[in-house]
C-alpha cells in the first residue's frame, strides 16, 4: 500500500493506492493550515479505510515546485513516516502530478501545467504526449500569464491552478499561432491519486533510482530547476 501526500501549494491532497486500486483520495483547499491538518487527516484516512501503519510499503510526496512552507511540511512528514519501517520515499514533481491527471483526447495538443507562485507570478511547464503519457517538454519556469501567452505556438490544454487572472488572460489573449483549451475544474485539481500512480510507475520502472528518504530534496517556488 502506498501513501501519497501533496502539500505543495494551498491545497492538500492525500491518497492510498495498492498498485491496482485507488483505495482513498481526498483533496481540498486548506489555505495555510497544512501543518495542523496533515498528520490527523492521514491518520483518519487510514483508519476509515482500515489500513494499518504496518500495511504501508511505500510513501510518495510532491517535492515541488511549490511553496516553501507547504513543501517542507509534506516532505518532512513523509520522511518521518518512511524512516520508521525503512520504506521507499518517491518524490514526484508537482507539475508531473498535474499532467498525469489529464486525459488526452487529441494527441496533437500539448499541455501547459500551471502553479500559482504568488504576487501575480505563475510556474509553468509544457508537456506533450509520448509513448502513451504526458512527457515534459520544458523545464518549469517562473513567469507571468502575459509573458507565457505571448510566446506560445500550437494547440494547448491548460491545467492546474488557473485563477480569475489566468482565466481573463486566456480569454483575452490575442493569439495568432495558438489555440488554448482550459481544462474543466475537476480535471485541473492536483490530486494525490495521480501522485500515487506516478510514484508506482517510477518505483516499478526498474531504473535503479534511489528511493531512500535522505535523497529526497524539495524544489522551492522561486528557483524551479
Amino acid at each position: 500500500m502506498l501513501l501519497a501526500i501533496d502539500t505543495a501549494t494551498r491545497s492538500l491532497s492525500l491518497a492510498l493506492h495498492n498498485g491496482n486500486t485507488l483505495i482513498a483520495e481526498q483533496t481540498w483547499r486548506t489555505g495555510n493550515q497544512h501543518n495542523v491538518l496533515l498528520a490527523p487527516s492521514v491518520q483518519h484516512m487510514m483508519a476509515v479505510c482500515d489500513v494499518t501503519t504496518h500495511a504501508l510499503t511505500a510513501v510518495a510526496v510532491s517535492n515541488g515546485p511549490g511553496s516553501y512552507t507547504g513543501l517542507r511540511i509534506g516532505v518532512a512528514f513523509a520522511k518521518g513516516i518512511a524512516a520508521v519501517n525503512k520504506l521507499p520515499l518517491i518524490g514526484v514533481s508537482t507539475l508531473d502530478m498535474l499532467a498525469a491527471g489529464q486525459p488526452f483526447k487529441n494527441t496533437r495538443y500539448k499541455l501547459l501545467a500551471i502553479l500559482q507562485a504568488g504576487r501575480g507570478r505563475i510556474i509553468a511547464a509544457q508537456y506533450r504526449v509520448k509513448k502513451g503519457r504526458w512527457d515534459a517538454l520544458t523545464n518549469p519556469e517562473i513567469t507571468t500569464w502575459d509573458d507565457l501567452l505571448q510566446n506560445i505556438e500550437g494547440s494547448y490544454y491548460i491545467t492546474g491552478e488557473v485563477d480569475d487572472n489566468g482565466r481573463n488572460a486566456i480569454e483575452s489573449a490575442k493569439l495568432e499561432a495558438a489555440s488554448l483549451t482550459l481544462v474543466d475544474p475537476a480535471n485541473r485539481a492536483r490530486r494525490a491519486g495521480f501522485l500515487a500512480q506516478e510514484a508506482w510507475r517510477r518505483y516499478h520502472a526498474g531504473d535503479e533510482e534511489d528511493f531512500s528518504p535522505a535523497k529526497l530534496v524539495p524544489v522551492y517556488m522561486n528557483k524551479p530547476s
Binding site: 495542523v36 498528520a39 504501508l56 517542507r72 512528514f77 513523509a78 520508521v84
Partner: protein, 356 residues
C-alpha cells in the same frame, strides 16, 4: 527505563538525539558537525544552514543507529515546537509527527528554552538539584533570566529589550573582522587584551532584570570604526553593502577584552542579585554564551552559591536537551496531539504548556 528521541530544528541547526531517563545521552547528532556531503554524495546543499528538509533523514537515522535502538523501542518522540523560525521548526515537527504516527508513540512539543534549562541535567556526574534555582539562558537568539521553582515551574524575571547577548558577541566580532561565530574568537582575543582599555557602557544598570545590548554594540562601533567620509557616503548606492571601516590604530585584543567585560558584568550582576532576592540555592547558566570562561569565572566570584553550566557540546543548540526536557514533561503527563501547531514566539514561564 524511558527512551526518548529528541529532534531540534528551531533555527539554523538540524539535530537529533536519544536520551535515556532524562539523564543519559544515547546519541547526540548535530548536522553541521557530521559530514553529510560524504555520506549522501552531492544531495546535500553547500550552505548547510537551515537546510533542514535535506538533512533531517540523515541526522535522525544516525542518532537512532548510534544509540543502538530501533524506532519501535522508543517510549516517546520529542520535538522543538518553538520559539524559532517557522519554516525551520516545521521540518522537525512534521518529521516527528510522521514518526509518532507510525510508531504509535506519544509526541511531545517542547519549548526550546526549556531544552536549554535541561541541558544542565545532562551534566555528568549529575548532582541532585535543590529548588529554587536561578537560570540565565544566554545564546545567539535569547537572553532570559528565570527563577525555576520546580520541574516545569518557571517565573520569568527579565530578558533582553533589544539584542541577545550572543548576538552582541557576533556583531562585535564582525566589527573587529573576527571570524564567525564571534563568541569564541572574541574570547580568544580578549585573553590577550586589557579589560580596562575602554569603558564601554553597562546598559540597564537599574533595578529591573531586563538587559539591553544594542547601545553597547553601538558604543563599540563608535570606538573602533572610521565613519565613512561625506564623499564616499554620497557615492553610496542603495543596495550596496555598507561596511564601516576598522580603525588601524586600535588593539582588537583590548576592544574584545573590554567588550566582554561589559557584557559579562551586567549579566553576572543581575543574575547574582536575582539569586539573592529570590533565595535561589544555585545558579545555572545555559546557552551558547555560557561557554564563555569570563562569564563563568565572574559568576563564581560574584556569588557564594554553586554555579553550574552544561558541558561545551550542550551549550549550543542540540537535541539531547530537548529529549531531556521532554523526559520531565513526559513524567508530568504532557502528550501533544498530532495536530499541534508551531509557536514561533513561545515564552518560557508557568503558562508555557497551559493549552496542552
Amino acid at each position: 527505563m524511558v527512551t526518548i528521541l529528541g529532534i531540534e530544528s528551531s533555527c539554523d541547526e538540524t539535530a537529533a538525539a536519544v536520551v535515556i531517563d532524562g539523564r543519559i545521552i544515547g546519541s547526540n547528532v548535530v548536522a553541521s558537525q557530521i559530514d553529510l556531503h560524504a555520506e549522501f554524495g552531492g544531495v546535500f546543499p553547500e550552505v548547510a544552514s537551515r537546510a533542514h528538509a535535506e538533512a533531517i533523514s540523515a541526522v535522525v537515522e544516525q542518532a537512532i543507529e548510534a544509540a543502538g535502538v530501533g524506532f519501535h523501542q522508543l517510549d516517546a518522540i520529542a520535538v522543538t515546537r518553538g520559539p524559532g523560525l517557522v519554516g525551520s521548526l516545521l521540518v522537525g515537527i512534521n518529521y516527528a509527527k510522521g514518526v509518532a504516527m507510525m510508531t504509535d508513540k506519544p509526541l511531545l512539543g517542547i519549548n526550546h528554552l526549556e531544552g536549554h534549562v535541561y541541558s544542565l541535567w545532562l551534566t555528568q556526574p549529575f548532582r541532585e538539584v535543590d529548588f529554587p534555582v536561578l537560570v540565565l539562558i544566554v545564546s545567539g537568539g535569547h537572553t532570559e533570566l528565570l527563577l525555576m521553582r520546580n520541574h516545569g515551574e518557571y517565573e520569568r524575571l527579565g530578558g533582553t529589550l533589544d539584542d541577545a547577548a550572543g548576538e552582541a558577541f557576533d556583531k562585535v566580532g564582525r566589527l573587529l573582522d573576527l571570524p564567525f561565530p564571534g563568541g569564541p574568537h572574541i574570547e580568544r582575543a580578549g585573553r590577550r587584551g586589557n579589560v580596562k582599555s575602554f569603558d564601554f557602557p553597562r546598559a540597564k544598570r537599574d533595578s529591573s532584570y531586563d538587559f539591553s545590548f544594542s547601545g553597547l554594540k553601538t558604543a563599540v562601533m563608535r570606538e573602533v570604526t572610521v565613519q565613512p567620509s561625506a564623499a564616499t557616503r554620497k557615492g553610496r548606492k542603495k543596495g550596496a553593502e555598507k561596511h564601516a571601516q576598522l580603525r588601524s590604530d586600535i588593539s582588537i585584543n583590548d576592544v574584545a577584552a573590554s567588550f566582554q567585560a561589559a557584557v559579562t558584568d551586567i549579566l553576572v550582576e543581575k543574575a547574582a542579585r536575582a539569586a539573592q532576592e529570590y533565595g535561589a540555592t544555585e545558579i545555572f547558566i545555559a546557552g551558547g554564551v555560557s561557554a564563555n570562561q569570563m562569564l563563568r569565572q565572574k559568576m563564581r566570584q560574584e556569588t557564594e552559591l554553586p554555579v553550574r553550566y552544561p558541558p561545551l557540546n550542550l551549550c549550543t543548540d542540540n537535541a539531547a536537551m530537548i529529549a531531556a526536557a521532554a523526559h520531565y514533561r513526559w513524567e508530568m503527563g504532557l502528550r501533544t496531539s498530532l495536530s499541534f501547531d508551531v509557536r514561533p514566539m513561545w515564552a518560557l514561564n508557568n503558562e508555557t504548556y497551559h493549552d496542552d
